[in-house]
């Protein structure tokens, strides 16, 4: 057990605590803020709803990971036609424990758009580059050691290059990643520099206190300013444990783009903009499953070693992502003996797909008895781009030598070559037949200098509520088009350092 950590097992009765800043959520944003504030001498309490699972506990087991590291077993569903399955991390370290570890700076054009549309201050390239540099140093962001790159990634790269497309090696927060292909189950070597092994221990080493298994129910306030939070510990099996009250001068909410607006709304906090819980972007993605005539053994080697960036101007990013047998079986459009036959070729499979920078938006609503529920309607334009991304992905896989592919479209036949692919996709793909997933949820407490347009200001402060700061991807005014983790961390670091600069006004 690490120093400064308290879990539900340590708590026998209700707790009442005081601190300078309480941070809700220990993922990319929350852990970063906690480390920055603690480093400046602020008395920080970090609250995490999920459990503490150290590196030594991680295996390649999918079921274990889904049950312990993800919210709701990784089975979130945004309601719409089609529905979009999404996953959120829920453990100390948050989604950084289960993401692929892609670390990219925010595209300049995205920053420019955010600044222009929302009047955001200090968000240009020059403003953020020092933070990106600090993050990349702290999290060991860099390219993979070549011996760790899996054959699935190499094949996808070869296919894309055969098509003449721009392919870039992925930059990842990893310290000599071993290539275990276990990113989504928790890195068993600790090479992935998630918050679990970086900013969380950094914060604790500087005096922060971490409470795991602790669900925050409400943000408390008085006279319009926040005063802390209330919540309770969660016992095994989800049973309610002792209560927790934290009094703090600053409340930082970093629960992700679904839980953050839900907590704010649950606490009776309203945004004059009407945008709290709205403006949700999900970067819908889809999986093309390709079968080769020789062994690929895609689980040996790091996944997503490359990204195809040829179509970034269209809002499309393509990459190969290895899926474990349970994950692949769960998405294949087959069952019974047919499923068995497909899965028998597991080691000859490459899974890849597009990620779409979406133009449509969804919203989070609190439903009585159900909690936060996500509603998202894919636009026709985005559906067309998903279909195009699927086609491009399949083209690259055929160019790499795939003998057949399965498309993420209900009822689609097995496709055995590029000509068949073109014929099939020449007809419009019914939107509701697309099988979509998301792991990038953004925008539900968007920044804008104009309180009529945004929930938060340029530095994450909730408009009209002193001492309340948002520090996760909820802040994004729109989709970022690439992997969002480094942007979340950069904004969190920047906003935390600004809090420190103005600590007197925050009472810190």
């Amino acid at each position: 057990m690490i120093s400064g950590l308290v879990t539900q097992a340590d708590v026998t009765g209700a707790l009442s605590l005081d601190c300078g800043a309480v941070v809700v959520g220990s993922g990319a944003g929350g852990a970063t803020v906690a480390a920055e504030l603690a480093e400046a001498g602020v008395d920080v309490i970090l609250l995490e709803e999920g459990g503490y699972h150290p590196t030594e506990s991680f295996t390649a087991g999918t079921g274990r990971a889904l049950r312990t590291l993800y919210r709701d077993g990784g089975g979130g569903m945004a309601i719409g036609r089609p529905s979009v399955l999404y996953a959120e991390g829920r453990c100390v370290g948050g989604s950084t424990v289960v993401n692929g570890g892609m670390s990219w700076r925010t595209p300049a054009r995205v920053l420019s758009r955010w600044a222009g549309h929302e009047g955001l201050r200090a968000i240009g390239e020059r403003d953020l580059d020092p933070y990106f540099a600090a993050i990349e140093s702290r999290l060991s962001v860099g390219l993979q050691d070549p011996e760790t790159i899996g054959r699935d990634s190499a094949l996808f790269q070869a296919g894309a290059q055969a098509r003449g497309w721009a392919v870039v090696p992925n930059r990842r927060n990893q310290l000599h990643c071993a290539g275990t292909s276990s990113c989504s189950s928790g890195c068993p070597t600790g090479a992935k520099r998630s918050m679990l092994v970086t900013s969380v221990p950094r914060a604790l080493a500087r005096g922060a206190r971490l409470f795991a298994d602790c669900r925050v129910n409400r943000i408390t306030s008085s006279g319009g300013a926040v005063t802390g939070v209330t919540g309770h510990f969660v016992r095994p099996g989800g049973r309610r444990g002792p209560g927790l009250t934290v009094r703090a001068r600053v409340v930082v909410v970093a629960g992700g783009a679904i839980q953050t607006p839900a907590l704010l709304a649950r606490s009776g906090l309203r945004s004059a903009s009407g945008q709290l819980g709205r403006n949700l972007s999900v970067h819908p993605n889809a999986v093309v499953t390709a079968f080769f005539d020789r062994d690929v053994t895609g689980w040996q080697g790091v996944h997503q070693a490359f990204q195809v960036r040829e179509f970034l101007d269209e809002g499309l990013l393509l990459t190969a992502t290895n899926l474990t047998p349970p994950m692949l079986a769960g998405i294949l459009p087959a069952y019974g003996a047919e499923l068995g036959e497909l899965m028998a070729d597991y080691n000859r499979v490459v899974t890849a797909g597009p990620l779409v920078s979406d133009t449509g938006t969804g919203r989070i609503r609190l439903l009585p008895g159900l909690g936060p529920q996500v509603f998202y309607q894919l636009t026709d334009y985005d559906a067309e781009r998903v279909a195009r991304g699927v086609e491009l992905t399949a083209e690259a896989l055929f160019a790499a030598g795939a003998s057949r592919v399965l498309l993420p479209v209900d009822g689609a036949p097995v496709v055995r070559g590029p000509d068949e692919l073109r014929r099939l996709l020449a007809r419009p793909v019914p939107k509701r037949s697309l099988q979509l997933y998301s792991i990038h949820l953004m925008g539900t407490a968007r920044m804008s200098e104009d309180p009529r347009r945004g929930v938060t200001g340029s530095f994450g402060e909730f408009h009209g509520v002193p001492g309340l700061i948002v520090a996760d991807a909820s802040l994004f005014p729109g989709p970022i088009g690439i992997n969002p983790m480094e942007t979340v961390i950069a904004l969190a670091m920047r906003n935390a350092r600004r809090m420190v600069e103005r600590r007197d006004s925050y009472g810190l």
Binding site: T62, R67, D72, G73, T106, P107, P169, P325, G340
Partner: protein, 188 residues
């Protein structure tokens, strides 16, 4: 172990949606064990929804003419198989729920270690081997990088390197491996 609601229905469904080998040995029991654990991790609403899917699946068979009014759990393979095929091909929220149930159950089947070995997936020895290789190849870099996590605070301007850490824009500790490039922005 967590209980699976309407377990006899879930088990019968598993026998049809998993590969035929699910009927060998104790596999179906163990799939139910995995399913119980999985369901326990879901929020109450999702558990209820999947339980409702099982009820729909079971009672819906009564409306399937070849079933002659019998429930799904009581159908033989010759009728249950086509019934499941028909249900999974339908559209609508109920069918989507049953497709999700099918996904969860097949995931549970492929979670079984012997099933994974049968399809050539055995990650533990591989993970052990590459983890050893990592430490043998890069041990000093790794130790330096891990020590930097709790190194002294950064001073001065944002991004200024702390002692023991690489300067911004340069390779971080443990990142001196071949193939390292300078930081890039998210666009080419």
């Amino acid at each position: 172990m967590a209980e699976v609601p309407f377990q006899h229905v879930a088990r019968r469904f598993a026998e049809l949606v998993c590969p035929p080998e699910v009927r060998a040995g104790q596999r179906a029991d163990r799939v139910m064990g995995e399913l119980g654990l999985m369901l326990a991790s879901l929020p109450p609403a999702a558990r209820k929804a999947l339980a409702a899917a099982l009820v729909l699946l079971d009672q819906g068979a009564r409306l399937y003419p070849p079933a002659r009014g019998r429930r799904f759990a009581r159908l033989g393979d010759e009728v249950a198989g086509p019934y499941v095929r028909a249900v999974l091909a339908r559209r609508g929220p109920a069918a989507e729920l049953i497709r999700r149930l099918k996904s969860v159950i097949t995931m549970c089947y492929y979670e079984l270690p012997e099933v994974q070995r049968e399809i050539g997936y055995d990650p533990a020895p591989y993970i052990a081997a590459v983890s050893r290789r990592r430490l043998e190849s890069y041990g000093p870099d790794i130790r330096a990088g891990e020590a930097a996590v709790t190194a002294a605070p950064e001073q001065g301007a944002p991004g200024q390197a702390a002692p023991g850490q690489a300067a911004p824009g340069q390779a971080a500790p443990g990142q001196a491996a071949p193939g390292q490039g300078p930081p890039e922005r998210g666009t080419p």
